[in-house]
Symmetry: C2
């Protein structure tokens, strides 16, 4: 039974599981837990006492290491059971027989789970940072998996840190490093990172986080959001007790769980019930009614109070807004950026962007302010301002400009320059419909070629891409500057791109799946969601219009520092944004700290790195971005030079460029 | 005129160049230097005063930035001129005009050099560790080069270390790091490494080392030997003065130069003459006769004393031995390892290996010792030892065994088991020819299948590959052990593989040129030459015969430490070797520290890494090797987990395996 219904939320986080011990009668065990309100069980597949080496040697008869597959239907196995690989296995043990037994057991159980068509198996936590042999064996199995996911169990806080929490040793434990290799030992993210790097970021390897009473810093949690977390195993020991004796979670735990819900992570409850309420077994509906978080469950499952609390948390999530629901379909989905000069937009694209009223309100404000600055009240009735919309599309900027003129009582003569002949058709019809014929002249021409009959006071354009200049606004406006008066203004007058390093395993996996170099050297438009923003965005390239001198090539070296308490992290690439100054204090942008609210015209841009870059705790990242301009195209190149050195991406624009 | 003639040496290190200043009349300058005994000049291509930005802006007339290409013939340009890109360029300058001028100049000069079909251009030293923009521009040019090499000029000792040498500051300077990124600043190898990593190890980018008076530690020099060094620019300031007033080099410099000669590095002399002898301009032949190192040059070139000294050093090199001459053709050349069980060797292969007399002398000694141990003098005439040669080939081990029997006066009954029916033909003929019919029985059979009529006292085999067990000696001898007496001995009785991390840019480049994953997950047999052995080899897998228990799977984790004074280095993969104990104290092997001398049957094995691993100064390398055994094949997997984590190579033997 899902935790609740949330309109628009189709993610798996609605489903809650429970970790159960080995049970020969899994049929009954499953029925009991489903009746108790859980959606699936995390269950061992074999008797924990079984050891392959106890078999008679040199015989080929393998005793039944598991029950029959017939005890559940195929649909039950795949929908309601996540396999749990025997936790006793230790492929990095110094005991040779233990290693051999472990490897046989791991392969046997994974083969059995595959036979049962399970969707996922939980594999045990590796020995901190020395799990090379374990990773090798899992990696071998991964090569053969077609559907099943492996969830590597990792404690969100390592046991030694949990133990040291609040003691004077805490800092020392946190900084503890392997004496030989210098690796941080107590940051469990490192265990995951080493394991998955050995397994080459295999798409079927994900992570299940154990959540106990102690939580790491917010930064340390945040870096996990770009990792492929499939499950969070919440232990009953993580719960506090409320005034009425019911289990509840700390504010920080609650915040973590709502974040996980938002990232499609499934919760699994684990451990014995630590909250026994008098009478709860007698009259369940009364007990659950009195806990304060909603409808009760009829079953007498020992963990039902925990489930109810989780259900309560889930149902407390804010409703999904229309914009979120619209964007949900685009989350973490790679889109090729536009080639606005080489290709014409389609009607549907115009339709979508024109709906972004916030954006045009900002433009209207900008034109408004510019008109007031250029024409005094006394001149309002005698002076006519020449305003040119360059790239008029189907007319939204004309409308915004005319509105601004009306608001201010200033007189306008508008030229609408548009290179797309299809949009021009619509423009003509709009002008006629609105009765703007006396004010607006439509020019069907590329602004870079147009021979204007007079020069403009104000040049209005909306040529910005997610990364500001990436749709060649600089080149277009340079071309239009010929017909701007010497004291004329451009709206926008300035724009700056921004960049920030992110963990984005999903995006990286998708880029990698193309299996070529070109896709790793391409920037993508993406609604970023399951990513970890590791450092604040920094400005990259700035363009100002009208331009006084210089070309449109740019070069920027950036140094990113990371929060001290974050620990280490993996950078899969960079999130790119822009901010623009339309006119004086009126800006428009998507850089997260200053983003214009309720705007949906732009998602972020994503620059991938061919090899993810490991950033050890305490180090900085140095990155280089270039904007290169050739006779027929503009492109970016990028590289990282600290903490390690990457190759330069997209040399000569060999993989990705925007045509002039 | 080459430095000298060395029989068998066809490398480019015979040719010596000279760095000259810009000369409008390059024709005369070249003639003068060739007459002076040099083979080529390292010469600027354009007037050092020229700056692109001094052109009249907005005109498309480019003034002649260089002389005509007609001043030299095409053959002269390409054979005798290495271009020197203007050293004033600085693409990482904070001055924008300087950056722009530098980029234009770099591209213009490289284009001009390409137009002249020069073989190489020397490009200036990058700003230590901040040459990102310079590297980007060079990398762009590299993408378009089809023939010309770019030599990045790097001082062997950074200027600040040269200055600090011998002062109390020396250590401090050596350890100096960038405050932000933590990179070591004074190790010039780091400058090269950052630059070439940004340029993605481009095959047309190599290094030219400046050699001055101070030299780094032997370890620091050694790591360069695996790098693509094309030239060493020896400055006149590097020379000392001998008792007679002539230039000479320190012992360490001499050793360095002979090493460079041996690695096909060309020498370029640079700088003003600092040794002026009275009368040397008057009567050159007398002057040069009296310097003590041989025939003089007739020209009056101001640097001729330096050239004569270098020629003297070159001619002092020890002559190339026959074995070296044989192996020279195989140096740094990747060979696919044998599939000895799946394929039969060819006659030529037998022929080559049989010539390795040293190897069979060791076998003869081993059989000799085993016979003395098994049969006392008193039993010598009555006891017959059953000796089985498993994998007899065309008979060399039969011969060695019979020789040992003759030496010791022991009686033998020999079974020669060979699976290759073609070799068996030759065996029969050999036995007849030598009259061994009463002693030797030939069995045409795979040793793993043979039903022996009796059991053996001694089992002799030569099944070892470069990495010991890599040609499946363990599996074969396990198969043969059925017919070895319980107290019987195997020759060899034990073997161990060894591994060491190496810099091997040439090998890595060759593997990369296949442009697929499989070649990066294959081990190759290679005569290693232009490689840097960064740490001592360590034992990996050991097998003993006869075997008491266990399987042939193996797993080893290795930790390599590097010399403290080496600095940082790049690891392209691992060199593999073996050592075997034939019998008691008689061993055979190629592990460098204990290698059997004068043996040529085995080259080393090379395990590549998909991405070269940067090892910062002071860190260790942790590597894992696995020997995996499946029903039909044996394979290795390998990975690095410190200082950084690599993916596991060759999972499931997907790329490289040896068939059973």
């Amino acid at each position: 039974m899902p935790l609740g219904q949330r309109v628009g939320d189709n993610s798996e986080s609605r489903y809650c599981g429970v970790e159960i011990p080995f049970d020969e009668d899994i049929h009954t065990a499953l029925a009991h837990n489903l009746a108790g309100g859980f959606d699936f069980v995390l269950a061992p597949l074999t008797d924990p006492q079984y050891r392959p080496s106890q078999n008679v040697p040199n015989t080929s008869t393998v005793p039944p290491f598991a029950g029959s597959d017939l005890v559940l239907s195929p649909a039950q196995w795949s929908s309601h059971v996540v396999g749990k690989i025997s936790p006793w296995i230790d492929l990095d043990s110094s005991n040779e027989m233990m290693r051999a037994d472990s490897e046989v057991t791991l392969k046997q159980e994974l083969a059995w789970a595959t036979h049962l068509s399970l969707q996922a198996c939980l594999i045990p936590t590796p020995t901190p940072l020395s799990g090379g042999n374990y990773a090798r064996s899992v990696n071998q199995s991964l090569q053969g998996l077609s559907n099943m996911q492996l969830w590597l169990r990792i404690p969100l806080v390592s046991p030694d840190l949990q133990e040291a929490e609040g003691t004077p040793n805490e800092d020392e434990v946190f900084l503890r490093r392997d004496l030989v290799t210098g690796r941080p030992l107590s940051d469990s993210w490192e265990w995951w990172n080493m394991f998955r790097t050995l397994c080459e970021h295999h798409s079927h390897l994900s992570v299940a986080l154990d959540i106990m009473a102690s939580l790491p810093s917010a930064s340390a949690i945040r870096r996990w959001l770009g990792e492929p977390i499939k499950a969070a195993i919440v232990h009953t020991s993580a719960f506090l007790t409320n005034k009425k004796g019911y289990p509840c979670l700390s504010k920080r735990h609650q915040y973590l769980l709502s974040t996980l819900f938002d990232h499609s992570v499934q919760i699994v409850v684990s451990g014995d019930s630590l909250h026994h309420l008098d009478g709860m077994d007698l009259e369940p509906s009364i007990a659950s009614n009195s806990n304060g978080y909603g409808e009760g469950l009829v079953s007498k499952h020992p963990l039902k109070l925990y489930l109810e609390y989780l259900s309560h948390l889930y149902r407390k999530l804010p409703p999904i807004s229309d914009q979120e629901r619209f964007e949900m379909g685009y989350r973490d989905f790679l889109q090729a950026p536009l080639q606005p000069l080489m290709e014409n937009l389609e009607a549907q694209t115009y339709e979508t962007f024109e709906k972004d009223t916030t954006k045009y309100i900002q433009y209207q404000k900008a034109v408004h302010a510019a008109l007031l600055d250029r024409v005094s009240d006394t001149d309002a009735s005698i002076k006519t301002i020449v305003l040119m919309v360059v790239g008029a599309g189907r007319g939204p900027l004309i409308r915004a400009s005319l509105e601004a003129a009306k608001e201010t009582g200033r007189k306008l003569r508008v030229y609408a320059v548009e290179k797309n002949p299809n949009a021009v058709v619509t423009l003509h019809s709009l002008v006629k419909l609105e009765g703007w014929q006396d004010t607006v002249t439509i020019i069907s021409c590329d602004m870079r070629d147009w021979k204007a009959p007079e020069r403009a006071d104000i040049l209005v354009s909306e040529l910005l891409g997610s990364f500001g200049d990436n749709e060649l606004s600089p080149e277009c406006l340079d071309g239009a500057q010929r017909f701007l008066k010497d004291d004329g203004v451009s709206i926008p007058s300035e724009y700056t791109s921004f960049i920030a390093p992110i963990t984005a395993s999903k995006l990286h996996k998708d880029v990698k799946s193309y299996n070529d170099l070109a896709h790793f050297e391409t920037a993508y438009v993406v609604k970023l969601h399951s990513v970890a923003r590791l450092a604040s965005p920094q400005p990259v390239f700035t363009f100002r219009h009208p331009k006084s001198k210089g070309d449109n090539k740019r070069f920027k070296k950036l140094i990113f520092e990371f929060p001290e308490d974050m620990g280490s992290a993996l950078v899969h690439g960079f999130a790119g944004y822009f901010d623009s100054i339309l006119y004086k204090d009126i800006h428009l942008g998507i850089e997260p700290s200053t983003a214009t609210p309720n705007m949906f015209s732009w998602f972020a841009i994503f620059f991938p790195l061919r090899q993810p870059v490991y950033v050890p705790v305490g180090s900085v990242m140095e990155a280089h971005f270039w904007r290169c301009v050739g006779p027929t195209k503009v492109w970016y190149e990028w590289a990282v030079t600290a903490p390690s050195v990457s190759p330069i991406h997209n040399s000569n624009g060999r993989s990705y460029w925007v045509g002039l």
